[in-house]
């Protein structure tokens, strides 16, 4: 299983490096400039985009059908062409020539986030991975207090979406139906729903002027938000015999930095979570035999999180993520001392190919945990890795104006 996954990853990387079939240097008709068409009424049809730039009068031309393997027009229309502003008789070409326009064959226009190949076929070239449903399969080696486990496999799935508010000042992020399942031994986690928001303020909350050197003004903007996470289950976390059920987590957040769309951010958040920890406890019954029972402990987590997400390119092909979280877990049955829980994860995702415009990416994650709340192994640490492929569905092109 592990070997086959690894082979798949290598194949994906090779396809990504090879770069595909494109890379033909031809002018491309733009999406925004007007299109006019000429038709001779006998089957000849040409699309024109005439623009005058730097004193040159150039008309880019294209057909409306996809080229076949023989290089001739097939009967299939190119997808998502802009409609012609005017359809004029064929003689229009002669008029344009007389007016000094030069003609140059070009690739037809493509909507934002898409491109056309030499044949006129349309394909998506940018991906907004913050709007998608994904499935993933990974090699999942881990090292913890009990030893190492190098042959594990993990699967995951999840949905996420976002909405930019009026004037791009608010951003609402949603995630849910998010799960991970690791095999041998079985371990899974599931989150039903999560939400967080950011606000981008034009006016600074306050500003600081420094007088060491020339007076310099530093603005501190209101990049505040909040978030909620509800119904999260961890089954046998860190190969323990416990089940953790987080009812709800609420937190306020401050974006230390973010870009104008708030898609890339570095954030500090603090709040609390409430849940239950179900521990399997083995005791001795009245007859002297060992008997397993479940101990339920209700906890309150004051939590702090620091992290961010970063798109490393405009096309959304490279994503970097960082998440550090820590809490001093307080058990309701013993409020006197806190049990420390700390988690850290660094992730990288690279879209290497797309199948039917659905991106396939290589996903790498390095993570670690330290927990004092698991009774079977107190003061437990764990380091694990993930390397595998993610198949994303319904990821739209990157929004413009980033």
């Amino acid at each position: 299983m592990t070997r086959s996954l690894f082979a798949t990853c290598v194949a994906g990387l090779w396809i990504g490096f090879s770069g595909g079939v494109l890379a033909v240097e031809r002018p491309v008709m733009t999406w925004d400039d007007p299109i006019e068409c000429v038709d001779d009424g006998a089957g000849r049809f040409m699309r024109l985009q005439c623009t005058q730039k730097e004193g040159r009068k150039v008309c880019l031309t294209s057909g409306r059908f996809v080229l076949g393997d023989d290089g001739k027009e097939s009967e299939a229309y190119m997808e998502d062409l802009r409609s012609c502003g005017k359809v004029q008789p064929w003689e229009r070409l002669e008029e344009l020539k007389k007016e000094g326009w030069q003609f140059s064959e070009a690739l037809a226009e493509a909507p934002e986030g898409f491109a056309r190949d030499e044949s006129g076929r349309l394909f998506q070239v940018t991906f907004d991975l913050r709007n998608r449903f994904h499935l993933g399969a990974y090699w999942n080696p881990l090292l913890d207090s009990d030893g190492e486990e190098l042959g594990r496999t993990q699967f995951d799935f999840g949905w996420r979406a976002y909405e930019l508010g009026y004037s791009r000042k608010e951003r609402d992020n949603y995630r849910g139906i998010e799960g991970r399942v690791a095999l041998e031994p079985l371990e899974f986690s599931f989150l039903a729903f999560g939400y967080d928001s950011n606000v981008n303020s034009d006016e600074p909350v306050f500003w600081v002027t420094t007088f060491i050197g020339p007076p310099t003004r530093w603005d501190v903007s209101a990049r505040l938000g909040w978030g909620i996470r509800t119904l999260k289950v961890d089954y046998h976390p860190m190969r323990s015999k416990s089940v953790e059920f987080e009812n709800v987590a609420l937190y306020g957040s401050w974006d230390i930095a973010h870009n104008s769309s708030m898609a890339n951010y570095f954030r500090l958040a603090a709040g609390f979570a409430v849940g239950q920890l179900f521990n399997e406890v083995v005791g001795v019954n009245s007859e002297g035999a060992e008997e397993a029972s479940v101990e339920t402990r209700v906890y309150l987590d004051p939590l702090v999180m620091l992290g961010g997400e970063f798109e490393l390119d405009d096309a959304g092909l490279h994503h970097l993520g960082l998440n550090l979280a820590g809490s001093a877990r307080l058990m309701f049955d013993d409020f006197s001392s806190a049990l420390w829980v700390a988690k850290a994860a660094l992730t990288y995702e690279w879209v290497v190919l797309a199948v039917n415009d659905q991106p396939v990416s290589v996903y790498v994650e390095a993570s670690g945990q330290y927990r004092e709340d698991l009774p079977d192994v107190p003061q437990k640490y764990e380091a694990r890795g993930l390397l595998g492929l993610r198949f994303s569905f319904w990821a739209p092109p990157q929004p413009g104006g980033e």
């Binding site: 981008n200 034009d202 600074p204 306050f206 500003w207 600081v208 002027t209 420094t210 007088f211 060491i212 007076p215 310099t216 003004r217 603005d219 903007s221 973010h258 870009n259 104008s260």
Partner: protein
Amino acid sequence: MSRVLMHDVLAWVLVASTAACATVERPVAVPIAEVASEGAEPEAGPSTITTTALQALPKGYTLDERGRRMRVAFDPGNRFRVHAGWHGSVGRDFAEVENALELGFGVQLASECEGHEAQCWKLSHDVLETQVRPGGAGGRHVALTSTLIRGRYVRFARHPSVTLPTSPPLTLPIPFHIGGQFSVGGAQLFPQLDASNVSLEVFRGDLLLEFLRRPTRHRSLILGIGFRYVLDLAGDGSSVRTGHTLAPFTAMSAEFHMESGDGLNLLEISADFAPMWRDMGGWQNWYSVGLQLERVVAAVNDLPIRGFVAGRYGTRYLPFGIGGAQEGFEVLAGLSWSLVE
């Protein structure tokens, strides 16, 4: 007649309204390109921050290269400030340094002459000047110094003189301005003693001579001589013991004050000498010299944060002569923040 009156009234109204309109300072549209804080390119660059725009700003403000307004001049004579700092004190023998956190607040109000007036009053008031140092005597006691109000009034005259009532009157030029100073409602708690021991500076009054003769208060050199009365109270639960300390116009003081025109820097050097009479102990000489430096290091929402250092060497006042007259150094260093200035 009534028509003439009506005409006059209308004429006056017209003249008055015209004059009013002529003196109104209308807001000026400033062509400043505000830009997003995320570093987006400004629609119009620094070239749009014109001289006109700078001139349209209130006094003491400027624009940065992104067109954002910021205050670069301050007025330490008019502020409500809070401060926090480290207070260290040591005796003359440098045997043991006592460290404490000092917190404080106070209001300062001042006015100065416009410069074109031949004579005017330069006024300054300190209201509720309070310093607290918790944690004295191993955390049991609190040191507190507070003054309800202190007022200083200096009469500025372009050509200061004294007129003698001779016949004819004789006017003699003098090289200083004359003023007065008072303070009432001073209270002091001591870190060595509990709160049942309090020292009240009931009243202090001084006659002042100011030698630099500036219409503004950015620079001054003041000598003073005055009266001082301190009442010490000590309660033991059933009775109150009192002590009286008096300087019968024997309290002499000197102060040099200098601040930069933009209010960013401030320097003050002071010295006091006062033969004081105490009902327990007779005459004692008290003295002190002090130095204070302040510098605006930053401003939050145009309200300045100053770093300051103040040092003092001299007699430490203790009620009822506890420990005798002690001498020592005191240093205070910290930050103050003006909530209003």
